[in-house]
Each structure stands twice: as C-alpha cells, then as structure tokens.
Symmetry: D2
Subunit: 101 residues, 4 copies
C-alpha cells in the first residue's frame, strides 16, 4: 500500500476556476472500490496498491481532456514505505507524538 498525492491541472481553460475539472477527477475516484482518497486544498491524497494508484491517476488525467481542454499537466508524488504499514492516519499520528514532546 502506497500513499500518493495527485494534482490534475488543465491548461488554457477559458476561466481560472478549475473546480469543475477537479470534480470530474474526483468522480473517477468515487467509482473506484479499493482506493481511499481525500481532497485537500492543493490536491488529492490517494491510498492503495501502487499499480491501482497509477491506473486511477491515468483515468483522472484522461477525463480532464475534452470540452476544449487540449493540454493537461498532472503531477503524482508517491510515498511508498515497505518496512511497515503506513497510512495518512499513521503518518499524522507520528508527527503529533513528536509535537507533544
């Protein structure tokens, strides 16, 4: 299980408001059964099997084309730890513990 952050940005859109494109990409995620996701103010955090994550990112990227969008910039940052189970929740807990001391 890996954690990834994805941002899908259409370029050359008529307006600087991109929320409808973000919503399209989130709809792709809503249809995926074994993927956890969380929308933040700067992207979408996805947790799941790495191959599944890459497949889903490809879908989020593809769905953004069309209706006048001819160029899409997609960024994926993968955090893949294999010595122990890792998740957004466990990462936040670890930082919180260090902040208490």
């Amino acid at each position: 299980m890996a954690i990834a952050e994805v941002t899908v940005v259409p370029l050359g859109t008529k307006t600087a408001s991109l929320s409808r494109y973000v919503a399209q990409a989130i709809k792709v995620l809503q249809q995926e059964k074994d993927i956890k996701y969380e929308l933040t103010g700067m992207g979408t955090i996805i947790e799941g099997d790495l191959d599944r994550i890459l497949t889903v990112v490809k879908k989020m990227h593809e769905v953004t084309f069309g209706e006048g969008v001819v160029r899409v910039s997609t960024t994926v940052r993968i955090d893949d730890r294999r010595d122990k189970a890792s998740s957004t929740a466990s990462k936040l807990e670890s930082v919180a513990k260090h902040l208490e001391h």
Copy 2:
C-alpha cells in the same frame, strides 16, 4: 493571500521515519502569527501573504539541517489567485458544489 503546499525532506537520514523532522518544521509554523497551516498526509498547506509564506518555508527548510542532516529537499507549490479571494475552504466548497450536480 496565496495558498501553498510545502514538503521538507531530509536526505541520508539514519532511518526512513521522518516524522520528527516534520514535527520540527511544524513547530516553526506554530510560532508564526499570521499564517494558517494544515498538516496533511503528504505535506503542509499554508495560507497567507506570499512573502510571508516564502520566509516561513525558508525557516522550515533551515531547521531541518543539523544533527547529522546535511542535505534537504524542499518543495513548495504556490497557488496564487488574484481575481478573487481564495482559500482552502473556498476551493473545497467549489468542488463540492460541482460534485452535487
């Protein structure tokens, strides 16, 4: 007011666990009065004046050196919108509205 996402990553640390370094950087943020921040599973989202953001990012970067850390990789992604007020909250609301339809 801009929104930015920051990740500060020390390289060549003895362990693959980096939460103590993240906590150090968060402590820098806790001491800043006019900066809003939120820790996510993949970075820290900061809202504030762009110059203040860059100054704070520099501090988060610097505090990570020391105690054996000689190399730090810091990434900042800035989303700066000037035709209307924007915030993490307003961005999430806009996407939510599109998802309802």
Copy 3:
C-alpha cells in the same frame, strides 16, 4: 506522446549521496527501446507514449528498493498536449523564439 519529468528519491539512506540510485534508475531507461530520456540536474525528462511512461516510472521506482532501501519517494510530472505534436525540442524552440523578440 507526452513529456514527463521523474525524480526517484530513496529515503533513509546511509549517505546523502544519491547518484548510485539515480544511475540504477537510468539503467532501467537505457533498456527501454521507444522512450527518449535526458538526465538533468534535478530529474529525468522522458518522452513517449503516456502508458509506456507510467510503466517505466513504476520500474524506476521499484529498482530503487533493496539493499537497505525501504522507502522511496517518486514524483512524476506529466505535460500532455494533444492539439499538436510537442517535444522537449519544440518547447525549447518556442521559448527561444519569444526571447528573440
């Protein structure tokens, strides 16, 4: 054909020097026939079919594990333009034309 930039970073390595890991990932690229790549000071730029790029990035990520490496942070930024053929060369030429004026 898309253009992508990939950085594969092992975390928790004994030394802050990561060039041997970069070399491992480049060796993966050298074995791929229909992929163009260029190493820069900050990552590797890859040109090719998007599915091929994602497959190759996965290989570069996987090869970095092992020999004590248990955590890898991989970032891929994809620039995918579909209204006309695009390449690193054509992008640099366009900027150069604007600089002349």
Copy 4:
C-alpha cells in the same frame, strides 16, 4: 549554494501555448547577475544562494501576472546540500561515473 527547479504556470490563459510566459520569466533570470540558470523541457534549473533563488522565483512568479492572467501556479523544488559543494555539473558527473561501472 543550492540547486532549484522552478516552473511557473499561468492558469486560465486563452491558449494552451505557454512559451511566451516562460520567456517572460527567463527574461527575469537574464537580468540577475549571480544566478546560473538552464531551461529544460519541463522547467528552469537555477543555481545560486538560496535567498537569492527565492527572491528570483518570486520575481518570475510576479511577472507572469498581468495581461489577463489572474492565477499563477509556481512550483519550486530545492536541493540544498551542505557537506560539500554541489552543482548540476557535479551531480551529472557522479551519475555518469556510476553508469560506467
């Protein structure tokens, strides 16, 4: 001395061609005396003092607003190594040495 990669992306532009905006940002760099830079197919690599880099990135970001551009997404990735002198050239040489073996 640090190495950084910068990408400045205007959102909501009339066309998906962004080379004129990249050229504007490069012109900012051309006027800076103590900064080395190199344009790649995916961004601009800058070498120099970290404070100078951040100041220049701010200028590149600001120059992109105007003429209808109301939203700019700027990403900076900093590689800062302090146990020895590092540069784009030395990093590429180190990888090349590992590839020879």
